[in-house]
């Protein structure tokens, strides 16, 4: 069941390339079929690091404008999966993949597709906050725009404010915009990195354990922020923290040893999982 109303038609019309969703038989671990927009349509996706296979035959449809949490024990392939969604895994030499991965209908691995163009639409927030040390708060937020050729002062100012507002950081930094980004606290730095990702106006935001280095208060702020983001963005978040997955996601995918074991509504996953491995993991019996 959708927890949010469907997106306005206007937004879909502006994206001519999106697929129309005809009902399809759900894969063994796939999502129950519904008529909702799909952000990532991934079929039979496998990925190898050299000779080691990190992802095995993953088929999953990640819904648009919802928060999807990826959980699983360390080494289960969840970070690899997330990095494959905007081709960040290509920074690791010697990777190879099979299967198809579509983002709003576009093949991410098709011939001639540029990773740079994908990453403008699929942003990423990392485990460790990493504001650029040579740049001020404002420069950090705007660096993606500036390096992609945006020069218009008015546009830059507007995006700066909007991004910091969305990242719930504006009130804290509005008088410190010229201070170094690294002068902020850990939680603020992570929100600055989120603002930096939002400034280039991606459609989708990938978050790789964004709170694992933060204290509970800073974590709460980021989770609150994720709740606001899902009105406009597709969010995919990898987390080690099952409470966090339960608190802030609509859907949860459980990965184990490179396979997608189960994918479903978060409430079901945590209260009534259909797979015994999921049940064992979410109840804390292993992992």
């Amino acid at each position: 069941m959708s927890t949010l109303p469907e997106a306005p038609a206007a937004r879909q019309a502006s994206e001519p390339a999106r697929v129309s969703l005809t009902p399809q038989p759900a894969g063994a671990a796939g999502l129950p079929v519904e008529s909702e927009e799909v952000a990532f349509d991934i079929r039979n996706f496998s990925l190898w690091y050299g000779a080691r296979q990190a992802l095995m035959d993953v088929t999953i449809k990640i819904p648009a404008r919802k928060v999807t949490a990826i959980i699983g024990p360390s080494g289960c392939g969840k970070s690899t999966f997330l990095r494959a969604l905007n081709r960040m895994h290509e920074l690791t030499p010697g990777t190879r993949l099979e299967g198809s991965l579509r983002h709003f209908g576009q093949d991410l691995y098709g011939p001639g597709v540029e990773a740079v163009a994908i990453r403008r639409r699929v942003g990423m927030v990392f485990q460790k906050s990493n504001p650029f040390p040579t740049m001020s708060i404002a420069e950090n937020v705007l660096v993606g725009l500036r390096l992609n050729g945006v020069r218009d002062k008015a546009v830059l100012q507007e995006r700066l404010e909007k991004s910091l507002h969305m990242a719930a950081l504006w009130d804290e930094v509005k008088d410190l915009l010229n201070r170094p980004g690294t002068s902020l606290s850990g939680g603020q730095q992570q929100r600055l990195c989120i603002a930096r990702s939002l400034a280039v106006q991606p459609e989708t935001l990938l978050m790789d354990e964004p709170c694992s280095a933060l204290d509970p208060l800073a974590t709460a702020k980021i989770e609150e922020l994720i709740q606001t983001l899902r009105q406009d963005y597709t969010v995919v978040i990898v987390t080690h923290n099952m409470q966090q997955a339960a608190r802030c996601s609509d859907r949860t995918a459980f990965f184990y040893m490179g396979r997608l074991i189960e994918f479903g509504n978060t409430r079901n996953m945590f209260t009534n999982p259909s797979n015994p491995q999921t049940e064992a993991y979410v109840s804390g019996r292993f992992g």
């Binding site: 920074l91 740079v116 403008r120 660096v143 390096l147 930096r196």
Partner: protein, 289 residues
């Protein structure tokens, strides 16, 4: 009273103290031996050179044989000119080569490049002088500032390349990933994010290389040649402090010997100043991180 098993016997404690003192003493002597040559150099330069340093030394040309006084103004300007020209050759090639090593090269290509750079570092400086003599002096039939600058620039390349590579590798991978995840092209990520983060380190490497080559004499012998007058044209032979020192030091005249000491002191002060700049730059970097 039973002796505590944790306390050594008196005799044992005594022997251990002697050993400890002896070893510490050897280490202190070695440490002093390391810094002693520096003070030796400064001592001799100041004792012999200081008295000949006056305003004229920095403003006048060398006087003809037989006349006393005069200075090394042309040699000081010549050294600065040659270092600038060496930088024009050595910095772009060295920095871009270092960027290639750190960011682009395959492991195999990098192994070869590093090996080549290390061999180049070991090439005796007189050999550079001979190579550039054949490359630029013979074809153009004149010793020139160009030739001297190129010879020194070649010496800078491997130094700058290796230090650039080292500081670029120190830039955390997370900055590259963060910038790439914003959909920024890779070359922009490298030039704007990575190089900018490592800029102080790169500058430090360049200055260290300049300090290394500032005192080189051999590569200039067959290239810049030296000049007792101002050189008004980079196509002419040009003077340099080490060349002038060399020329004066092997002369039979006491006055020229004094001038040579003074020149050596000025050259040493220049190199010391470059090293102090390096210290300041590196201290800043450490504080910032």
């Amino acid at each position: 009273m039973a002796a505590s098993p944790y306390l050594p016997t008196e005799q044992f404690a005594h022997w251990r103290k002697i050993k400890s003192t002896a070893v510490t003493g050897v280490l202190v002597v070695c440490a002093l031996a390391v810094i002693a040559p520096l003070f030796l150099v400064l001592y001799f330069l100041v004792v012999h050179g200081w008295s000949s340093i006056d305003w004229n030394f920095f403003t006048q040309l060398p006087k003809p044989t037989g006349e006393t006084g005069g200075g090394m103004a042309n040699a000081i300007v010549g050294t600065i000119t040659l270092l600038t020209m060496a930088s024009l050759v050595g910095v772009p090639i060295g920095v871009l080569g270092g960027i290639y090593l750190a960011e682009y090269g395959s492991d195999r290509a990098n192994d070869w490049l590093r090996f080549a750079a290390d061999v180049l570092n070991g090439v005796p400086s007189i050999v550079w002088g001979m190579v550039v003599y054949l490359m630029l002096v013979v074809p153009f039939k004149t010793f020139s500032a160009y030739a001297g600058g190129v010879a020194l620039g070649f010496m800078m390349v491997p130094l700058v390349m290796r230090t650039t590579e080292e500081v670029l590798v120190l830039v955390p991978q997370s900055y590259r990933e963060a910038a790439l995840a914003l959909g920024v092209a890779r070359w922009k990520v490298i030039m704007v994010i990575v190089v900018r983060t490592a800029l102080k380190g790169i500058a430090t490497g360049i200055i260290i290389a300049l300090a290394r080559i500032a005192g080189e004499t051999a590569p200039l012998l067959f290239t810049a040649l030296g000049n007792t007058f101002w050189s008004h044209n980079l196509k002419e032979p040009i003077s340099a402090l080490p060349l002038q020192i060399f020329a004066y030091a092997i002369s039979p005249y006491d006055d020229w010997h004094r001038q040579a000491w003074a020149g050596a002191l000025v050259l040493m002060a220049l190199i010391l100043a470059l090293n102090i700049i390096v210290r300041v730059l590196s201290r800043d970097r450490i504080n910032k991180n």
